[in-house]
């Protein structure tokens, strides 16, 4: 299976700051990929590099085997829903569909109209008068209307109320089930990603901390609790991601190649939220970041 996104040493620098460093990824096809990270971790930068909105400072990136935004054919393969679902406030819903039709040779107008019908959007309504959830749905319709092979969504539900958020995700999952479209979506809300993603990329401190299929990641990580022990005295093949200690007890989140057999430890499974938090804490500890950033996740 060819990779949907292939990045090698990818980095982007703005005004002296590295927004993304040393990013190497090989995202497989056939998944709903979740990109999680704090605000400012580099999610939008990575997605902008994938769509060709930005050019890399270092390294390379290939999307569906081609250079991002290299030409109309490449642009037609990738659909993008930017943060806050930008639309033209003065143009109506129908105008936006016309925009899609005129700017995309591969536009599927019956599909787009059917979606607008199902979503109960009034074609004559100006896009500026739509609610946040309706704007997101309109923008998604435009992105899907050109029948892309890859759909990239940047924080699509971040500014939506819970009902709109649920409806958007329901709609997205129905689309995934019906079409064979690859999806990459970024979010800082882990609970949403947990439901829909089966491949996870964690970005923290402008770097990729971990990436892989969710099942494999969860199977490879364990939560160990037991009597106080130094982290350095663990068997080989085990890597501590985060740990906390009292005078009597240690609790460690570890990544292990094989099963944990030491009877001194009580082993429990790790959920996605704990996994992501552990990697963020690890990079935050390294970078000596302010703990307030972690609260942004919950």
């Amino acid at each position: 299976m060819t990779a949907v996104i292939e990045a090698e040493g990818l980095g982007k620098r703005y005004r002296g700051q590295w927004a993304l460093t040393d990013c190497t990824l090989s995202v497989p096809a056939g998944h709903v990929v979740g990109l999680v990270g704090l605000n400012g971790a580099g999610k939008t930068t990575l997605l902008s590099l994938a769509t060709g909105m930005l050019a890399p400072t270092t390294g390379t990136i290939e999307v569906l085997g081609g250079r991002p935004a290299a030409g109309p054919a490449q642009l037609a393969k990738v659909g993008y829903l930017a943060q806050d679902a930008p639309v033209y406030p003065g143009l109506s819903v129908a105008d936006h569909l016309k925009l899609g039709a005129r700017l995309n040779p591969g536009w599927d107008d019956p599909l787009a109209r059917r979606r607008i019908d199902q979503l109960d959007l009034d074609p004559g309504r100006k896009a500026g008068k739509l609610s946040g959830g309706q704007r997101a749905q309109l923008a998604l319709t435009i992105a899907l209307g050109k029948r892309p092979e890859l759909l990239i969504l940047d924080e699509p539900v971040a500014s939506l109320d819970p009902l709109a958020r649920r409806e958007f995700l329901q709609d997205l999952m129905e689309t995934v089930a019906e079409e064979q479209v690859n999806i990459v979506l970024s979010s800082h809300l882990i609970s949403d990603l947990e439901r829909v993603c089966d491949y996870l990329i964690v970005l923290a401190d402008s770097r990729v901390q971990i990436a892989g299929p969710v099942d494999e990641l969860l199977a490879a990580h364990h939560l160990l609790s037991g009597p106080r022990r130094d982290e350095g005295r663990l068997p080989a093949g085990m890597q501590v991601i985060s740990g906390s200690h009292t005078d009597r007890q240690s609790t460690l989140l570890v990544r292990a190649d094989g099963p944990v057999l030491d009877p001194a430890w009580t082993v429990s499974a790790v959920g996605m939220e704990d996994l992501v938090l552990a990697y963020m804490k690890q990079s935050a500890g390294r970078g000596r970041r302010d703990n307030r950033h972690l609260e942004a996740l919950t």
Binding site: T51, G52, M53, L54, A55, A69, G71, P72, A73, L75, A76, V78, G79, Y80, A82, D84, P86, V87, Y88, P89, L91, D95, K98, L99, G100, R102, L103, N104, P105, G106, A139, I142, A143, K146
Partner: protein
Amino acid sequence: MIWLTWRQFRAQAVTAVAALALFAILLAVTHPQLASLDVSTGLAGCHSGGCGRAANAFLGALSNLTPFGGPQAFRLLPDGANLYVIVYTVGILFILIAPAITGVFWGAPLIARELETGTVRLTWNQSVTRARWLTVKLALTGAAAMAVTEGFGLLQAWWAAPISRAVDLGGSVSVFSGSRFSPLNFATGGIAPLGYAAFGFALGVTAGLLIRRTVPAMALTLAIFVAVQVVMPLWIRPHLLPANQTTVALAAGHATFSHIGGATAITATAVPGQAGAWILSSGPVDAAGRAVSTLPAACAQAAGSGTPASGPTAGSPGDVLPCLASHGIREAVSYQPASHYWPLQLTETGIFLALALGLAGFCFWWLDRRRA
């Protein structure tokens, strides 16, 4: 992409068409009387030299005219105000400011608005490259900007044709005067407005692309455009083509003497045999051709130049100029002849068009580097 550009431009296009339409109606309504005066003063049929009288008669009648032949007819204007002077001035003004307006209101927001509101994130991810997006937007909106300016220019040219003819024949009454080379007339005549429109638009687009915020881009565009429009006639236009140099005799009709606050100046007003020339600079020179900075003592007396507190004394050219002439002093004149009008127009327009194309090319280059 053409549809989208049109759809985004629609409201602005309607405004422009409305403005042109209103102007056209104003001109159409006032034209018949103008045309009849043209005939009645004998200007229309006059072709040979010596039409100066007919020209002045026409212009005089025009500027004394109260609307539609009677003061009661047009209460909108204050008593004594002249409709034709106003319409003529308004037309000149429209042609003058149209390039600035289109540059500021059409050019600056073209890209800046989309960057500011983030809609580029929608449009640049459809199946059109940024190069094509920019090409269509620049070409269509830029052509519209040039067409609007040209529209005002053509309407004005049609309506004021008799006036232009009168001025060319030597007539000069109130605002209906001035050579084709005066800054106002040169900038609003010929093909120069097209160049300004193209430049103003390209300037606006570039400012918008670099600044990425609509209002500051509009302000910067206006500032730079006005600065260029001031610098061009003052310092650049006179040197676009090599000027002719000659000396003229110091006689009334070719030169004047003026004395302002202690400084004396002798300036040439006309070059014999060069009707309609544009005098760039002039100054007295002696028989050997060297510049004269102080008047000979004898003539200074006649000029009454011993009183620093006196105001401008344009008086007694009859005394001063012959006195100077008798000392062998002539006036050296640097001028552009009337025949240079169209070459200057073409050169200036060419410069502005080249600037416009250069700015457009820069925009393509900048966009390609994916700075956005």
